[in-house]
Symmetry: C2
């Protein structure tokens, strides 16, 4: 393909991902130009720290501490934001968009929290805002949803979107090691941050879920609408039980886009081991998209990492450059009013409920009575032989019941005499796309 388009690029943030983008532009510039007809010319890299080596061979004259100057260069058409966070990154992106510069970002927190504001600025100036790298790293899931599946209504998306959590749950299950031990291992291996709360409390997954939900329904889904639980409540006992029942426990984003409204929920779910999503291990991400025309399509790959993320950013740069050169419209994502939102209390699902009951007659009946009182129908009960502990785990698998009812039952079970510790409750997601109401 003849190179017809040259586009000037500035990178804001010369860290792991920004350095990866610079490296790909230098090493694979010819390959990209040959494939796409687009020559991405690196014109500036802005970072506050210009001394530390990034292991990338770039012309030092490209480096600057002045991000604003990099953005406003006449020979820069597209700005890559890899600073992260919602402070300086937001201001710089707004400033770039207002100046008519198209922006490519991997910043899911920023999109989930300020997508409406950012896209309004892009719309106003006619610039584009691209974010393929914000969800599932190297897996082109945004492009699949926006383009490949453009002809399908999307009633549901199920995603394993956080590599750290999936790594921890995989190791907990396979090594039968407790959460704290595996978390420390993951931190030592560089798979978890020193402060792991964004990952293990489900916040990062919620950001990505809000973005996918926005694309699924075509309207901006606000972050507070995402019901969010993390994985701290997942124990080895539950992983063992689930495995025995043919399930894996995954931190799952569940997006439902149904006629009654949109609901988004993030939390540990039981997923059939016979399904591909139940087989996704370690730091891999996977997204199952239900489409009315496409059927079930699944996208899987590394959810993070320098080059997967940088590669996704470069794919956006190519598309942005082509559209800029053609004077074509950029995609708008956060347009219109929010969709009708449905509270997750109305979500109907099958549930995994595990309570610790004192090993004495009548306890099982009392717990079952609580469930019946809330009109939760029991599909099966598992009680292992008593061991020496004063409490024994009792497991209820329910028929389909509303989350609101289950939550009320859980509160009553937690208060019941003779229980040891709070009850544990996870959704069972059979991934068959049955409506949630």
């Amino acid at each position: 393909m003849t190179t017809a388009i040259e586009t000037g690029v500035a990178i804001l943030g010369f860290g792991t991902v920004g350095g990866g983008v610079a490296d790909l532009l230098v090493r694979h510039g010819d390959l990209i130009a040959e494939r796409s007809g687009v020559r991405l010319a690196l014109r500036a890299i802005a970072d506050l720290d210009l001394e530390r080596s990034r292991g990338v061979r770039v012309d030092r004259s490209l480096l600057t501490r002045d991000a604003a100057a990099a953005i406003h260069r006449d020979d820069v058409q597209v700005v890559v934001e890899t600073i992260g966070g919602t402070g300086a990154a937001r201001e710089l992106i707004l400033s770039a968009l207002e100046a008519g510069k198209t922006v490519v970002t991997a910043n899911k927190a920023l999109l989930a929290e300020h997508g409406v504001e950012l896209f309004a600025a892009a719309r106003h100036s006619g610039a584009g805002l691209y974010f393929e790298a914000s969800v599932a790293g190297g897996v082109p899931i945004i492009r699949a949803l926006r383009q490949g599946l453009v002809a399908s209504r999307i009633p549901a998306i199920f995603g394993i979107l956080n590599g750290t959590c999936n790594y921890i749950l995989t190791r907990m299950e396979e090594e039968r090691a407790p959460f704290d031990v595996v978390l420390r291992e993951a931190q030592a291996a560089g798979y978890a941050e020193a402060d792991p709360s964004l990952d293990v409390d489900g916040v990062d997954t919620a950001h990505k879920a809000a973005i996918l939900a926005t694309l699924a329904c075509g309207r901006p889904v606000p972050l507070p609408a995402v019901g969010t639980e993390g994985i701290r409540s997942v124990s080895n006992l539950d992983l063992d039980y689930a495995r025995g029942l043919g399930y894996a426990i995954k931190l799952l984003a569940v997006i439902r886009n149904e006629s009654g409204g949109v609901s988004v929920h993030v939390g540990p779910c039981l997923v059939p081991r016979s399904h591909l999503l139940g087989q996704v291990r370690d730091v891999f991400n996977a997204v199952l998209v239900k489409g009315d025309a496409s059927g079930d399509t699944i996208y899987c790959g590394p959810g993070a990492g320098r080059f997967p993320t940088a590669g996704a950013i470069v794919s956006d740069l190519v598309e942005a450059a082509r559209r800029c050169a053609a004077g074509a419209a950029h995609d708008d994502a956060y347009a219109g009013d929010p969709p009708r939102l449905r509270a997750d209390t109305s979500d109907r699902a099958r549930w995994y409920l595990r309570v610790m009951l004192r090993d004495q007659p009548g306890m099982l009946a009392r717990a079952a009575e609580v469930l019946g009182h809330h009109e939760i129908s029991i599909a099966s009960v598992v009680q292992r032989e008593a061991r020496s502990e004063p409490h024994v785990p009792v497991l209820f698998l329910t028929h389909r019941a509303a989350f609101g009812a289950v939550r009320r039952a859980l509160r009553e079970l937690a208060r019941m005499d003779g229980t040891g510790g709070p009850p544990v409750c996870f959704r069972i997601e059979d991934l068959d796309g049955e409506p949630s109401r």
Copy 2:
């Protein structure tokens, strides 16, 4: 998104897929316009049979028997070809491209055999040629390779690309039923054609493999370069053995794009059951793409079917319409000279070799000697207890050896006294991307 673009579409062929495209344009026209800004206006449907009902509500004034007239209408910018085959379809596509009309097709046989000619015609007139639906039905794998992974070198692709074969192999393994019985079941269920040879002999997979190989290396890979074996040689015995060893047998397209050249092979392979590709069941397709930046990404979904295929065609229509409207260049695929091709005889792999040997002393040693003579090193041997048959199956798993040497050894084993039937030989693909030389 405001609808800015209206594009006139003619559909050639009002069969399963063509009817599906018409149906999506009618039922989802508003959805598509809202998401993409493109209004796809159906202007003509050409078919020789206009009487049979297709279960699609379209204005009968759109129907015509004159495909040429449909193509040349002034209000048609993009032509969808769903006739299939390499006869009339080729002539109509060439005629459309020569008239400057952009073409969208699902016709893998035509692309694999005549891609160079078709793209030359497209290049000459400045028209586009789109083919997302040609590989893996509803899974947007072409788009992923061309756009999402534009920044990655692609050293290898592994694909389960034929739903019929995957269905047959899954049923054979799970029901322990022989090939002929399962094939008849598949025919009855509509998963296999009355003449199944295009599918079960690997020809359809070879077409798709040639297309993916062309995208991976950026040069046209000719169909005769694809070494092709079908699944008729796969027996229940081998499926059982493979399962016992932790493998599934899949009809796999293996594309290697290495410094020594490009090689493409289609044949039954042992794939680890612990890998997602080993878990892909029934009519599903899956593609594993190794990218130097992206890492391993996997794409999975229905490989065929009316709406998955039609949805992929519509996604191409949207992209084609946007590029036409912007006056932007269309992607070129079959440009340049063919890549350096490497004969699959030089492919190095681990091998599964099963021979039937007369149950008498010395036979195993003689077979092992044949392998040693061809410098094929044995990793392990499995010989089950003898049953009442005169011959017993003996299984050799080899270390890495070249296909050429293995083929010579197979010929010698087939001629050896005391063997019962020809030896069976499948590659073991661990999918770890280790170079094949």
